[in-house]
């Protein structure tokens, strides 16, 4: 670890130190990426200056609705997650897998491998850290790794943020994936807004310790620490949604033919928006392209959605043709079969699928409805004789 001067207890940063942190990371070759407002929503894009953050803004989310609102302070992180997730940097929606050139007696691959981008993600929430860990399991946990993902992942620097506010569509607390960050970050911040704006910073890795050592900081007081803990606890108490996970896998497997799927299917447009905004939806397809001359062929990897008909197409046609079957596949995969495939629930409780569903279908409500309907309608108490 070396004889650096950093006291490894949590420290306190002023807002100006965060700009220094960006500068330090950029000087180390990282492309810093963070939340900012674009077209009326908070998205993730390259972040040069702290001023580009959605300062003094918050978001108001509900099923099928999202809008930004002004706060009466200069908070840097007082909002929740928007339609983007970090998977677009780790597993970009469109990527060239390889390129090949026709030769006299066949074809050959063109070697044009570029070094992976080095991203420093600023403002990663607890649910999003869990989402990244799930992508790790899928793309790197098997016998063969997705090399491009692995290279991006290994180069990654993560500045996480504890949520100081819960959204109306948030339910991380019931899944144990937030709102406080657990592990897997380089630096974790908690924004304190009482009195002077300041940030409690904790390093989670040697690289995090080294980065913090280069920026102005002072030790966090016990009072600051207590306040930071309180903020996370307060956020946990204000979750807009809840999902009961006990026996959920069995509940869903038992009810593949439940009539409630037909009820959801009447609303579901099979547009796939939920799969695009979901930070863990990992499915992809491949597309082949050739130049006009037919001399060069490329293989592209593109994010895919289980809501398309092509997704399950085999020689006899699509396996899942009805909207009901496709919604059921998405939900049962996320909440049940994911557990068999990768050992965890595939949902991190971020609420994006609820907010960005054009008709406001709510994953927590659907699970609750199956639960309620399985236990049967309430019957009146028998009248005592």
């Amino acid at each position: 670890m070396g004889a650096h001067e950093f006291d490894d207890r949590p420290c306190l940063l002023e807002r100006s130190a965060l700009q220094k942190l960006l500068d330090v990371l950029r000087s180390r070759g990282y492309t810093t990426v963070g939340p900012q407002i674009e077209h009326g929503v908070i998205v993730y894009d390259e972040l040069h200056r702290i001023e580009e953050l959605p300062i003094g803004w918050t978001d108001v989310q509900e099923g099928g609705s999202y809008r930004l609102e002004r706060r009466n302070d200069d908070a840097l992180f007082a909002y929740n997650v928007g339609p983007h997730s970090w998977k677009r940097f780790l597993s970009p929606p469109l990527r060239l897998l390889w390129r090949a050139r026709k030769t006299e007696d066949g074809f050959e691959f063109v070697v044009d491998e570029e070094p992976p981008p080095r991203y420093a993600l600023i403002g990663v929430r607890a649910c999003e850290l869990h989402a990244i860990q799930q992508l790790d399991a899928i793309y790197m946990g098997g016998p063969v790794a997705d090399r491009d993902y692995q290279r991006r992942r290994e180069a990654l620097f993560i500045v996480a943020v504890n949520c100081g506010k819960a959204g109306n569509t948030c339910f991380c607390a019931s899944l144990g994936t937030g709102p406080g960050v657990g592990s897997g970050y380089d630096i974790a911040l908690t924004e304190l807004l009482d009195g002077e704006q300041r940030f409690v910073a904790v390093a989670g890795s040697v690289r995090g310790v080294e980065a913090l050592a280069e920026i102005p900081h002072r030790p966090a007081t016990d009072a600051d620490m207590a306040r930071a803990e309180e903020i996370v606890a307060e956020t946990a108490r204000h979750m807009g949604r809840h999902m009961e996970t006990a026996g959920m896998k069995e509940l869903l497997y038992r009810n593949l033919d439940h009539p409630h799927w037909d009820v959801v299917a009447q609303r579901c447009l099979t547009c796939g928006a939920c799969t695009m905004v979901c930070p863990t939806c990992f499915c992809f397809t491949v597309e082949d392209a050739t130049g006009l001359s037919g001399q060069v062929a490329e293989r592209w990897r593109r994010s895919d959605s289980c809501f398309t008909l092509a997704f399950s197409f085999i020689s006899s046609g699509s396996v899942r043709t009805s909207a009901k079957a496709r919604y059921r596949q998405w939900l049962t995969h996320k909440l049940a079969s994911w557990q068999d495939q990768f050992g965890t629930i595939g949902c991190v409780g971020c609420g994006r699928c609820i907010t960005w569903c054009p008709v406001g279908i709510d994953i927590t409500a659907e699970v609750a409805a199956l639960r309620a309907e399985e236990s049967g309608p309430l019957r009146p108490e028998p009248v005592a004789a």
Partner: protein, 302 residues
Amino acid sequence: MAMQRTALLEAMQQPGPALQATQAPIFHIDAFRPYRCRVVGRQQENDDTFTVELRPVSARRHAAFAPGQFNMLYIFGVGEIPISISGDPAEPDRLLHTTRAVGVVTRAMAKLREGDVIGVRGPFGVPWPLEALTGRDIVIIAGGIGLAPLRPALYYLVAHRKEYERVVLLYGARTPEDLLYRNELEHWRARFDLEVYVTVDRATGDWRGNVGVVTSLIPRAPFEPRNAAALICGPEIMMRYAVQALQKRGVDATQTWLSLERNMKCGVGMCGHCQLGPHIVCRDGPVFRMDQIEHVFGRGEV
């Protein structure tokens, strides 16, 4: 925050910040890049079905494969599809694939000629559990092109014939003209230690054999149900009826294996396309023991 202190101390033991990442095995191969193979042989099996033999272009050799495994085959500029290996596992250098021209890629494959170069990734998937079935009656039930992934199993069984009791092949095709591997069928039929029964849905020409679906052969086939293991590949509907007919004779789901077809884009368990309930077919299959998929197999649109 006390929890975060602990996390910090734990993190200090780790070489880097990507805690999860550094725990994963590191592979420096590109899972998505095929190796190039030249078509060194081509055999038309029937109207729309053909077999190609592939040899690596470079000095590398094909990896050994087990009966029931598949490769991803890539046609330059057209696309890539999963095709089961249909050759002899004892001769991995002679890589054979039997394909029916039904889609864009398979129709392009049908036009391959000796000397053409295609891409290969694999072998992938869980094979037929032949080594675990010694001492048993083996009942192989194939429908149409479903014989292709079972042919390696037959080669293996013939090569290890003494280790098994009866070996029975029940094979059904649409018409006599659709039968695959006709010479080999004759050769297998001529052996005293194999029982080969062939049926067609529709008799044409001078066909004097069985007429009817392949499942109709199951009640009459010569095997001892209590000691039998069944390996099935064919259209899903045929496999469902085959399982039922086997169960009627007393061969239960734990002694029945099936090879399933699903959409596959990666072959390495990452693209999500081949899911069947809890299973990722390219990774956990394509061969499954029936009792492991009973709750999802044949269930509408799962």
